[in-house]
C-alpha cells in the first residue's frame, strides 16, 4: 500500500483509510479506494451518505481527520485545493456571474500564466468540445441550465486536471436534458481520456455512465464493482435495494438437493435457490429477486420451467402500465406480494387484475442477501 512515485502502475487516486467527522457525525468512515487512470468512477448513495464529503476531500476542500489521499502517487492529504491537480464541476455550477463565458473558462489558465493567445485558442477549442462554441462573449448569468452545465465542465476540463470531480452535475437539469448530457459526458470523458469521479444519487445514471461504481451509505463504501456486477451480484441488502427495485423474501429450507436448497409450501409452490454446502433443512435464508426476472403467466397455461425453477401461485392484485414496461403486483400464497416487471407487449395485456397466475423465476435469478449495510471488504 505504499506506492512511491516512479512505480509502474500508479492509480489516479488512492484513498487509504480516509475518515472525516463533523462533530460526532462520522461523514466518511474509513474509506479505502483506488481509481485508475482514465476511469469513469461513480460514487453512488443516498443524500447524506458521505459521497460529497469524500469528493470534497479529493478536491481539498475538506481535510481528512484520518487516512491519506494520494493523487498519481503523491500524498496530497494536506495540499490546498488551489495547489491540487484536480478540478471540480460543482452541483450548482458556481459560474462567476460577473464574467463572460470566456473569462469563466479562462480563469484557471490565467492563474497559470498561460500566454494570452494560447488561452484564447484553448478556451475556444474547449467550448467547442463541450458544445457551447460561439457563446464565449455571453454573460455567464444569461445561460440556460444546460449551457451553464457545459461551461462549468469546460472551465474545469481546460486545466487538464489529473482527475475531474463532478458533484451531481446533472441534478438541476430536466429529465430529457439530463439523459442527453449523460451520454455526452460519457463521450467527452471517453474522447479526452480524463479520469472522472462522479457523485450521484441516481442509480440509473451511475450504471449508465460508469466504468465502475462505488456504493456508499452512512459514510462507508459498501461495494465497488462494474455496473453489471453491482446490479446482478449485490453483496448486501442495502446495495441490492438501492440499485434497482427488489423482491426480498425470507424462506425456510425444507430439503436440499446437492447445492440447491428447496423451500416448499402447500401444493406445488416451491422456491429453489443456490445455497452453500452447510445449508440444511430448517435453515432460514434471505433471498432477493429482481422484478424483471420474474415471469407471470395465467395459471391455465402450461409452463415449461422444469423442476429447477421457482414457481408460486397467486392472484394478480394490480397491473401498472409504465410505458415500455408493465409492472404486475401479484399476491402469492407463499410469500405475499411479489413484484414483476415485463416488457409491455401483446401478451402482457392478457394479464388482468383478479386473474389466477403462476409466478416463476429461474434458479440463477435469485441471490442470497447478507444484512443491511454490512461491509463486504471492498478492496479491489
Amino acid at each position: 500500500m505504499t506506492d512511491g512515485p516512479g512505480q509502474p502502475f500508479q492509480p489516479a487516486i488512492l484513498l487509504e483509510g480516509v475518515t472525516k467527522r463533523f462533530g460526532s457525525v462520522v461523514a466518511v468512515d474509513n474509506v479505502t479506494l483506488a481509481v485508475e487512470e482514465g476511469e469513469f468512477f461513480s460514487l453512488l448513495g443516498p443524500s447524506g451518505c458521505g459521497k460529497t464529503t469524500l469528493l470534497r476531500m479529493l478536491a481539498g476542500f475538506e481535510t481528512p481527520d484520518d487516512g491519506s489521499v494520494y493523487l498519481r502517487g503523491e500524498d496530497v492529504t494536506l495540499v490546498q485545493p488551489n495547489k491540487r491537480a484536480t478540478n471540480m464541476v460543482f452541483q450548482n455550477y458556481e459560474l462567476f456571474p460577473h464574467m463572460t463565458v470566456f473569462n469563466n473558462v479562462a480563469y484557471g489558465l490565467k492563474l497559470k500564466k498561460v500566454p494570452k493567445d494560447e488561452i484564447g485558442q484553448r478556451v475556444n477549442e474547449m467550448l467547442e468540445v463541450v458544445g457551447v462554441g460561439g457563446l464565449g462573449a455571453r454573460a455567464a448569468d444569461q445561460l440556460s441550465g444546460g449551457q451553464q452545465q457545459r461551461v462549468a465542465l469546460a472551465r474545469a476540463l481546460i486545466n487538464r486536471p489529473a482527475v475531474l470531480l463532478l458533484d451531481e452535475p446533472l441534478s438541476a437539469l430536466d429529465v430529457k436534458l439530463r439523459k442527453r448530457m449523460q451520454l455526452e459526458l460519457k463521450s467527452i470523458q471517453h474522447s479526452l481520456g480524463t479520469t472522472f469521479v462522479y457523485v450521484t444519487h441516481d442509480q440509473e445514471e451511475a450504471l449508465l455512465m460508469s466504468d465502475r461504481v462505488g456504493i456508499m451509505n452512512h459514510g462507508r463504501l459498501l461495494q465497488i464493482g462494474a455496473p453489471r456486477s453491482i446490479y446482478e451480484q449485490p453483496r448486501n441488502e442495502f446495495v441490492a435495494d438501492f440499485v434497482g427495485t427488489l423482491n426480498d423474501f425470507a424462506i425456510t429450507v425444507t430439503r436440499t438437493e446437492g447445492d440447491l436448497a428447496v423451500a416448499e409450501h402447500g401444493d406445488g409452490d416451491r422456491i429453489v435457490v443456490m445455497a452453500g454446502d452447510d445449508c440444511r433443512a430448517g435453515h432460514t435464508l434471505r433471498i432477493a429477486v429482481r422484478p424483471e426476472r420474474i415471469l407471470v403467466t395465467p395459471s391455465d397455461e402450461e409452463t415449461d420451467s422444469g423442476q429447477s425453477a421457482s414457481s408460486l401461485s397467486g392472484r394478480v392484485e394490480d397491473v401498472i402500465y409504465m410505458g415500455p414496461i408493465t409492472q404486475y403486483l401479484v399476491d402469492t400464497r407463499m410469500l405475499g406480494r411479489v413484484v414483476s416487471q415485463r416488457m409491455s407487449n401483446e401478451e402482457a395485456t392478457l394479464i388482468t387484475p383478479g386473474l389466477e397466475v403462476a409466478v416463476t423465476w429461474a434458479v440463477d435469478a435469485a441471490f442470497p442477501l447478507s444484512d443491511r449495510d454490512s461491509v463486504d471488504n471492498p478492496t479491489t
Partner: protein
C-alpha cells in the same frame, strides 16, 4: 490524541498524523486572527467615537461648573437642579405625549403604506420605494423651511383658501404652532416608519395572503392577522425610530413652533448652546436617555403582549 479519535484503532503507523492535526489547527487559528484583525479598525472607531463620548457625557453630568468651565468632580447637584426645574418636568411630559401621538400617527400611515407598496403595487415597488427614500433624504432643514412657505400667512394653504373664498383672513395658527411642528415631524418621520416595516414585509410571501384570502379572510383581516404578526420586527423598529427621533427633536419646534411650543430637546440645546452650562445639560441628557430606555422597554413589552 489521534489514537483515541480513531475508532478502529491504529491501522498503520504514520508519523505524519500528528502534524496533520497541527497544520489544521494553525490554519484555523490564522483565519480567526485575520477575522478579528478585520473587525478591529471598525470596533476601535466605534469605541473611540461612540462609546467613549457617551461615557464622557455621563461623566460630564457629575462635573461642577466653575466660571462657566466644567471641572471634573462627582456632584449630584446637576441632576437635582435639572429635575427640580418645573419647566423640565412640563416639557418632558409634553415631549413624551407628542412623541406618543406622532408615533401612533406615523405607524397608522406607515404600515398601510408599506403594505400597499409590497403587496398591491408590487410591480412598481422599486420606484415607490425609491421615492420614499428620496423624501427621507430631501434635506432636513430644507424641508422645515419649506413648511414655512406652505403654512405661513402668505403661504400656499392660506392664499389658496382665500383665493377660493373659503376664508377671508389667513389662518394664523397654521404656522408657529404645535400643529406646524407636528405636520413637519410626521412628514419627516413617515419614511423612517415605512422603511423598516417594508424591509420586514419583504420576507412575507404574497402567497401567504392569497392562502388567507382563499380560506375566507377579508383583505383587512389578512393584513391584520397574517402580515402584521409576520412583520412585527419592522413595526417595532419603526416605533423605536420614530419615538427616539421625536424625543431628541429641537430644530423643528425652534423654527416652526411658537415661543411656547418647545420640547425637552430645546432645553438640552439651550444648556449646550446658549447658557454654556454643560454639566446641567449633560444631566438632562442622561435623564432623557434613561427615560427613553424605560419607555422603549415598556412599549416593546406592551407590543409583544398585544401581538400574542
Amino acid at each position: 490524541m489521534t489514537e483515541s479519535l480513531s475508532r478502529r484503532g491504529p491501522r498503520r503507523k504514520r508519523s505524519r498524523r500528528g502534524t496533520s492535526g497541527e497544520v489544521l489547527v494553525a490554519i484555523d487559528r490564522r483565519r480567526k486572527v485575520a477575522a478579528w484583525l478585520q473587525l478591529l479598525p471598525g470596533s476601535a472607531y466605534f469605541t473611540l467615537l461612540f462609546l467613549v463620548p457617551l461615557a464622557g457625557l455621563a461623566a460630564m453630568s457629575f462635573f461642577r461648573l466653575v466660571d462657566f468651565d466644567p471641572v471634573p468632580a462627582f456632584v449630584l447637584s446637576n441632576y437635582a437642579e435639572v429635575l427640580t426645574t418645573s419647566i423640565h418636568v412640563r416639557l418632558g411630559l409634553r415631549t413624551i405625549q407628542v412623541a406618543g401621538i406622532l408615533t401612533v400617527i406615523v405607524l397608522l400611515v406607515s404600515f398601510p403604506c408599506a403594505y400597499v407598496l409590497n403587496f398591491v403595487f408590487r410591480a412598481k415597488r422599486q420606484l415607490l420605494y425609491f421615492l420614499i427614500l428620496v423624501s427621507l433624504f430631501g434635506g432636513y432643514i430644507v424641508r422645515i423651511y419649506a413648511w414655512r412657505s406652505i403654512l405661513g400667512r402668505q403661504g400656499v394653504i392660506n392664499q389658496t383658501l382665500i383665493g377660493m373664498g373659503i376664508i377671508e383672513e389667513p389662518i394664523r395658527y397654521l404656522l408657529n404652532s404645535m400643529f406646524a411642528v407636528g405636520a413637519s415631524l410626521v412628514n419627516f418621520l413617515i419614511p423612517l416608519g415605512v422603511l423598516p416595516i417594508y424591509a420586514a414585509m419583504q420576507n412575507v410571501s404574497p402567497h401567504v395572503i392569497e392562502a388567507a384570502r382563499d380560506l375566507g379572510a377579508s383583505r383587512i383581516r389578512a393584513a391584520r392577522q397574517i402580515v402584521l404578526p409576520l412583520s412585527m420586527r419592522g413595526v417595532r423598529a419603526a416605533t423605536a425610530f420614530v419615538f427616539i427621533a421625536t424625543l431628541g427633536e429641537w430644530v423643528t419646534p425652534r423654527l416652526l413652533g411658537g415661543t411656547k411650543d418647545l420640547l425637552i430637546g430645546n432645553r438640552i440645546e439651550f444648556y449646550f448652546g446658549q447658557s454654556l452650562e454643560w454639566p446641567q445639560g449633560a444631566a438632562l441628557a442622561m435623564t432623557l436617555m434613561v427615560a427613553m430606555g424605560v419607555f422603549a422597554y415598556i412599549i416593546i413589552s406592551l407590543m409583544k403582549r398585544l401581538t400574542r
